[in-house]
């Protein structure tokens, strides 16, 4: 639960990051707007010979550029600081208000109600609607409408001077009450409808986004619980087995008093079964754990080190038999990039198998060579070998060769996992074997499994 809460907090932070991202995007749009105002004004004046009060227009454009630069600097120095969502909202609203005011001033100086560019407010409404909440968006739309209509009315009533864009419209439309009413209505309805669409769409998007994030969180949490569960089950299954084994060893070793031969034999039989159970549990858990792992945990490591670890862990499988283990690694080969744990598992299984099925006096050879960008490993023994008819099935889950199925204990899971791991690394494994002579497993994996 604790974990879930911290993650939920993270998602709100991500949202704030997005918010800041959008604010940065708005800064670019504002630069474009400044350029647009200048180009359109100059075009109107020079190409269409419209008479415009250039000074106030350019001053307003300059004003926009200045506060845009201030916001940009503010965002840059803010990068490493934490910002609450409330202050980001304030920041967004401040910018938006300044934008609205600047645009109103420009509209005022370029013809007021007569300027068809007033409809450009629709872009402002859409952009801020994507960023702000539903309520804020409608408030913005309201402010835009009131200011615009206010401007029209004030110019109509001659309270504010009207700046006619001479050469654009000859007649004084701003004095025509029908026109002013119509344009006001058209403008207000456009702005509100735009706000409504933007808000509805972005609200639905936000909702979907939140749902996805929540679903993803739940999945992550489930995944973690499953891992925990596998670990706990594994511990809970193995612990009692370990206790039984320890207690058996105490009896067998005569630490709890003398044990006669018959009892000793029975205890040994129990011990063998327990050991098999222990081994089987371990293999099953390895299987579920390794299969459940979606991605390889890639690391750069020394292959010799892994072989040494595996050989050391596999050593008890010799059961006191005299088996010679030789490891030959191509000199230039140092490190490979793969899942260290899984590759250790591969070596452990192949070496332990070789030990297990090789009689005393035999040899096991591990050879590692490099060719281009891959390495080839051969684990070769002088053991009992695998019958030809079993070779095609040897990597199947739970399959055990016919010559060992009755005589030695095993789960038939080890080699299937070995094959799975190697293929997951983008490699392949081959087997050659002859009954009575020995087996040779040869696998190839890329030096880097990236």
């Amino acid at each position: 639960m604790e974990l879930l809460q911290t993650k939920v907090k993270q998602t709100t932070e991500v949202h704030e990051e997005e918010f800041l991202e959008r604010l940065k995007w708005f800064i670019y749009i504002r630069w474009a707007t400044v350029v647009f105002i200048i180009i359109v004004s100059l075009t109107a004046i020079n190409l269409f010979k419209v008479i415009l009060p250039t000074l106030p227009i350019f001053l307003t454009a300059l004003f926009i550029a200045v506060y845009n630069a201030i916001f940009k600097l503010y965002l840059i120095q803010l990068r490493y600081e934490f910002l609450s969502s409330a202050s980001i909202r304030r920041l967004a609203i401040t910018q938006s208000m300044l934008d609205i005011l600047s645009l109103i001033v420009i509209i005022h100086f370029t013809g007021g109600a007569e300027n068809p560019f007033i409809f450009y407010f629709i872009f402002h409404t859409i952009l801020t609607g994507m960023l702000l909440s539903k309520k804020d968006s409608y408030i913005q739309a309201g402010i835009i409408s009131i200011l615009t209509i206010g401007l029209f009315v004030l110019e109509y009533m001659d309270i504010l001077p009207h700046h006619t864009a001479k050469g654009f419209l000859g007649i004084n439309l701003y004095k025509n009450p029908v026109y002013v009413t119509t344009i006001s209505f058209a403008f207000t309805s456009t702005i509100f409808i735009a706000a409504f669409f933007t808000v509805s769409i972005s609200e639905r998007l936000r909702l979907k986004e939140r749902e996805l994030k929540e679903a993803n969180l739940k999945l992550l949490e489930k995944d973690r619980l499953k891992d925990e569960y596998v670990k706990m089950v594994s511990h809970d299954l193995k612990s009692p087995l370990a206790s039984i084994q320890s207690l058996l060893e105490v009896l067998l070793g005569g630490f709890a008093g003398p044990v006669d031969e018959k009892i000793k034999e029975i205890l040994q039989r129990i011990g063998k079964k327990i050991e098999f159970l222990h081994h089987y549990t371990k293999d099953l858990l390895d299987l579920s754990r390794i299969r459940a792992e979606k991605n390889l945990n890639l690391k750069i490591f020394n292959i010799k080190e892994v072989i040494d670890t595996a050989a050391e862990i596999a050593m008890p499988k010799t059961e006191g038999k005299k088996i010679q283990l030789n490891v030959e690694i191509a000199k230039q080969l140092l490190d490979i990039e793969a899942d260290k744990e899984l590759i250790t598992y591969v070596f452990l299984n192949l070496i332990a198998n070789a030990f297990k099925y090789t009689p005393s006096g035999g040899k096991v050879l591990v050879q590692v060579s490099q060719k281009n960008s891959s390495i080839t490993v051969e684990v070769k023994d002088t053991g009992i070998g695998i019958p030809a008819q079993d070779l095609p099935h040897i990597f199947e889950e739970f399959f055990r060769a016919s010559n060992v199925a009755k005589t030695t204990k095993g789960t038939g899971l080890g080699l299937s996992l070995v094959k799975y791991i190697i293929e997951k690394h983008g490699g392949n494994i081959l087997l050659e074997s002859e009954v009575g002579k020995g087996s040779s497993f040869r696998f190839t994996i890329p030096i880097s499994s990236k």
Partner: protein, 128 residues
């Protein structure tokens, strides 16, 4: 004769280990939980501690070993750590690779054979 403290929440493991050690004349003190174990270590000043990993929490043994190694009075006591979680946590507790963050002197996977136990205990006590 050397005094050995066994800390493990599994009474059977404690019993099995105790019988084996006592048969060789070692004096054995036991604790069935990490915090009690740490307290006993302070009181008894054993010559060796045998410590389980998963007890009340899944890594209580590690926490106890940190506490022991950071206490100047106890830091020289060798720790033999027993675990049944080695493999399924992915060889992460391999002594060879993780010595830096695992302050124990020996790490053995359960079950440990009496012969091996006595050998390891003997070696650790000799090193002291």
């Amino acid at each position: 004769m050397a005094k050995i403290l066994i800390i493990d929440d599994d009474a059977d493991i404690v019993e099995a280990t105790k019988i084996v050690l006592e048969s060789k004349g070692y004096k054995v003190v036991t604790a069935y939980e990490g915090d009690t174990g740490y307290k006993k270590a302070k009181e008894e000043k054993p010559d060796l501690i045998i410590l389980d990993v998963m007890m009340k929490t899944k890594d209580q043994g590690f926490q106890v070993s940190y506490k022991l190694k950071n206490n100047p009075e106890l830091s020289t006591i060798p720790i033999l750590m027993l675990t049944s979680i080695g493999k399924e946590t992915g060889f992460k507790f391999s002594k060879a690779t993780d010595e830096d963050y695992l302050p124990v002197d020996e790490l053995v996977e359960k079950p440990i054979k009496p012969k091996d136990l006595l050998l390891k205990v003997g070696n650790l006590l000799k090193q002291r």
